[in-house]
């Protein structure tokens, strides 16, 4: 599985504006809606399931990364987006650090495998400190896409 299989080129933001958890999740969901992967009429429900998931325990996995994710019937396949907050957002991370890099994933109700594979892939990508720094410092969406393309190729060749 490649990252660009579930993060479309349009679903990327190099400069998230939100300042808090709910705000950034809303901004990320809007990003997915803009690509047409999820219909606008489902926005409220999608936000609800994502926030409900956060209430179970933060999806901030440390080192400045958060992976908000949930399942909802509004999508038939795994879709996601990638956003970077320059300032960082308090996302209740276990290590206490602000989150800067956000991968939001929405999966269909009856799936488990692809979701887990995507989480594994994203973790593999972000384990590399150099990649994290490059994403955080990316000046625009083009640069982020380039990083993802390069890393997708590198991870596939391992």
């Amino acid at each position: 599985m490649k990252i660009r299989e579930f993060i479309s080129a349009k679903a990327v933001s190099a400069d998230l504006k939100a300042k808090d958890k709910e705000g950034v999740i809303t901004e990320l969901v809007d990003l997915i809606i803009d690509t047409g992967s999820i219909e606008k009429k489902s926005k409220k429900k999608v936000l609800e399931v994502l926030m409900a998931r956060e209430a179970l325990g933060s999806t901030a996995i440390g080192q400045g990364i958060a992976i908000p994710h949930a399942k909802h019937k509004s999508t038939k396949k795994l879709v996601g987006c990638l956003g970077v907050s320059k300032e960082g957002i308090d996302f209740d991370s276990l290590d206490g650090e602000l989150a800067h890099i956000f991968f939001l994933l929405m999966a269909p109700i009856d799936s488990a495998g692809p979701h887990l594979k995507a989480l594994a892939k994203i973790s593999r990508l972000l384990k590399d400190k150099f990649v994290r720094e490059r994403l955080k410092g990316a000046k625009d969406e083009e640069e982020i896409k380039k990083i993802i393309d390069q890393e997708d190729d590198r991870l596939m060749s391992l």
Binding site: I61, H115, L116, S123, K127
Partner: protein, 88 residues
Amino acid sequence: MPLIRREINVRNPQGLHARPAALFVQIVSKYDSVVTIQGEGEKVNGKSIMGILTLGAQKGADVIIEVEGDDAQIVADELEALLTDEEK
């Protein structure tokens, strides 16, 4: 120091996804023992959610935990209970 090595079949319905991975790290962080978890050849630090997620361990996968420290017994037991919890 006691070293416990245990092979565990993951029973979490969605596999070892973000929530059980976070709970795993929370258990490890409570104690002094040093923990690693291994799946399909790779061995990762038991305090890293990211590391654990890279394993991509699905329900039914076998993982190996190694716990070293004076409180190894209780840590291994708690981790096994978590990984075999069909509600998580």
